[in-house]
Each structure stands twice: as C-alpha cells, then as structure tokens.
C-alpha cells in the first residue's frame, strides 16, 4: 500500500495561540482525493480534525481549501497528482479569511458582499403571456456565470480582498454581472450604481487569481470588465432595458 505525507494546518482556538502544521502519513491510490485523505486522518488518527465538506462531487462548494498554495475543491483534487509535484502536500484553510478552527474559515464577509449586490433576479411584476423570449446569444452570455457554486475559492484568492474586506469581490461581481445581463431584470441601473463605487468593479486590479482558482472554470475578470464598460454607459443601458421590458409588456400578460 502506497502512502503519502500530508501536512495539515491545525488550530484549536481553545488551546493554540498560533496555527501549526501537522504531518500525517495517509494511504495513497490513484483515486485518492485530498478529501479522502482528510477523512482518513479524521477517522483513523485524530477525530478532532475539523473541515467543511458535503457532496464530495464538486457541486456544493463546501470543501474549498488551499492545497500547495492554490485554492481548490479538495473533493476533486487528486492526491497522487499533488504528490507528484515533488513537495509534501500542504493543506491550509482558505487564505485572507479569519480561521475559526483547523481548516474552517469565517466566510461572513464573503456572504455580506454577496447579499449586497442583491443576487436574485427582479423580474417585471407582470409576466408575458407565453414566455420571456430571449436570443440564444443572450442566454449563452449568462451560461458561464450561472454555474458558480459559491465555494469562495476566487474571493479568497483575490489579493484585493487580502488587502481590504471592503472590496465587493469577484464572486459577488460575477453574480451582479449575471443579473445585469439578464434581460428580464428590472434593476440594471441600481445594480450598476452599486458596483461602480470605490469598492466595486473599479477596484479590481486585474490580477486574475479568481480565474486561476475557480474550480468551475468561470471568468470573474471578464465579468468585471463588462460591468466596468456598462457602468460607464449606465443611462443608455437602462434605457435599452426599459425598451426591452416594455416589448414584453406589450406582448400581453399571462392570464
């Protein structure tokens, strides 16, 4: 049976003053994920090891952590591949966020910024008679941003977030982009105003860490650039949206 050495950052606030790295020797097969390794440590070695996880197939977003310097979902990170990089595999919690215990971080600022952009669709009060007709290109533009699983990897990788928690963050800006570009949304002006302040889309310094970190291959940077362009022609965009909404209204409402 092959084994691998992993180093895990441990921190128990009741007993530790500072975090420390503990070494464990875990069983290794070609299928072992880093999450498997953490589970093995918790069951066989130290039941106090604390970490978040749920679905274990990269859809819930709970298990985002920092492995060998990169933010990843540990449920889909191959341990063998990490070992193959020649260094001991180091597992730390997501950076730039306060550590609650071991690998669990406080994501309050992540959620606050998320709620700040009103991440839900605000459609017109009257739905059209049949459906909201949209062009395939309009739907395609939203496709990418819709698959965000809110894992926090991008937010926690962003150096601007590292410098100041006032920054809205790539996750919320991606969501704002999703809603702004949705032709059914009635609040584009308000949304663009919210993200064009000093801590919004113009605070992004195009470092690209969000793209590198995203386990779903999303592109918050491109979304932020689009928001920047739209924010600079906000009134025109709002007018176009009003026209679009009135077209649907004219088509007659649902019975």
């Amino acid at each position: 049976m092959d084994t691998a050495i992993v180093r895990v950052q441990r921190f128990h606030p009741e007993t530790d003053r500072r975090p420390r790295l503990e070494r464990y020797s875990v069983p290794l097969t070609s299928d072992t994920t880093v999450l498997d390794a953490l589970h093995w440590i918790k069951t066989e070695v130290d039941g106090s090891l604390t970490f978040r996880r749920s679905c274990r197939h990269a859809i819930c977003g709970s298990c985002a952590m920092n492995v060998n310097g990169r933010n990843v979902l540990v449920c889909k990170t191959s341990l063998a591949r990490e070992v193959g990089k020649g260094r001991p595999v180091t597992i730390r919690p997501l950076p730039y966020l306060p550590v609650i215990k071991d690998l669990v971080v406080d994501r309050s600022s992540f959620w606050e910024q998320y709620l700040r952009v009103k991440p839900w669709l605000v459609p017109p009060e009257q739905a059209p008679a049949k459906e909201f007709r949209m062009l395939p290109e309009e739907v395609a533009a939203l496709q990418n941003a819709e698959t965000c699983i809110l894992c926090g990897a991008c937010y926690s990788a962003c150096q601007v977030v590292g410098l100041t928690k006032e920054y809205i963050g790539p996750h919320a800006l991606l969501k704002a982009f999703l809603r702004v570009l949705d032709p059914r949304d009635t609040l584009p002006g308000e949304r663009l105003a919210e993200v064009s302040g000093h801590d919004g889309a113009f605070r992004c310094h195009t470092i690209f860490n969000c793209i590198e970190a995203c386990p779903k291959g999303l592109n918050p940077t491109q979304a932020i650039e689009t928001l920047r362009l739209l924010a600079q022609k906000r009134e025109r965009f709002e007018a176009e949206r009003r026209d679009r909404l009135s077209q649907w209204a004219k088509a007659g409402s649902a019975p």
Partner: protein, 108 residues
C-alpha cells in the same frame, strides 16, 4: 469610477508624451546640460507640450498613489482626506510647474 477613468486616460496620454520626451531628449548625445535645453524650452510650442506632459503626469501619479493607499484597509477610512490631498497636491504642483515652465527664458 472617475479615478479609474482619469487614470486610464492619463496613461494613454503619457504613452504618447513619454515617447516624444524620450526621443527628443535622450537620443544621443547623452550629455545633458543647460545649453542643450535652452533653445527648446524658450519656444512656446515646447512650453505647451511640457505643460500638458506635466498635467498628465501629475494626474496619473496622484490617481495611482491614491489607488495604492486606499487599497489598504487601514487607510481606507481616510479616503476623503486622501482624495482632497491628492487634488490639492495636483493643483499646487501643476501651478508651480506650469509657472516655472512659462517663466523660463534664456538668460540675456
């Protein structure tokens, strides 16, 4: 948003002005002293170019410094003071610099 736009605008302007500056001044011969600049600086055209250059440089330098400072959470609370200082420094610097450029004349 305005800071961002100003920074980008001044960046584009500087690319042009800097190229002109480098070509005019720093092409060989490399030795620079008073006599080398004396004729150029007396001409109104070059005074105008240098004043515009100064304007965009100050704009870019101050918006850049403002961005660097306000990114730090500790400093962000003083955003308004920093903004005011940046504008103040810019205006003062520009007036002083433009006056100096305009005042330059070859000694008799």
């Amino acid at each position: 948003m305005r800071w961002f736009q100003l920074q980008r605008l001044s960046a584009v302007a500087l690319v042009i002005f800097l190229t002109v500056h480098m070509v005019v001044l720093h092409y060989p011969p490399f030795h620079i002293d008073f006599s080398r600049i004396i004729e150029r600086m007396a001409q109104p055209l070059w005074k105008a170019i240098d004043i515009a250059f100064l304007f965009f440089v100050l704009l870019h330098a101050l918006t850049g410094t403002y961005a660097v400072l306000t990114d730090l959470q500790a400093v962000a609370r003083f955003r308004r003071i920093l903004a005011g200082s940046a504008i103040g420094l810019g205006v003062a610097g520009f007036i002083y610099g433009a006056a100096t450029i305009l005042a330059f004349h070859p000694p008799a």
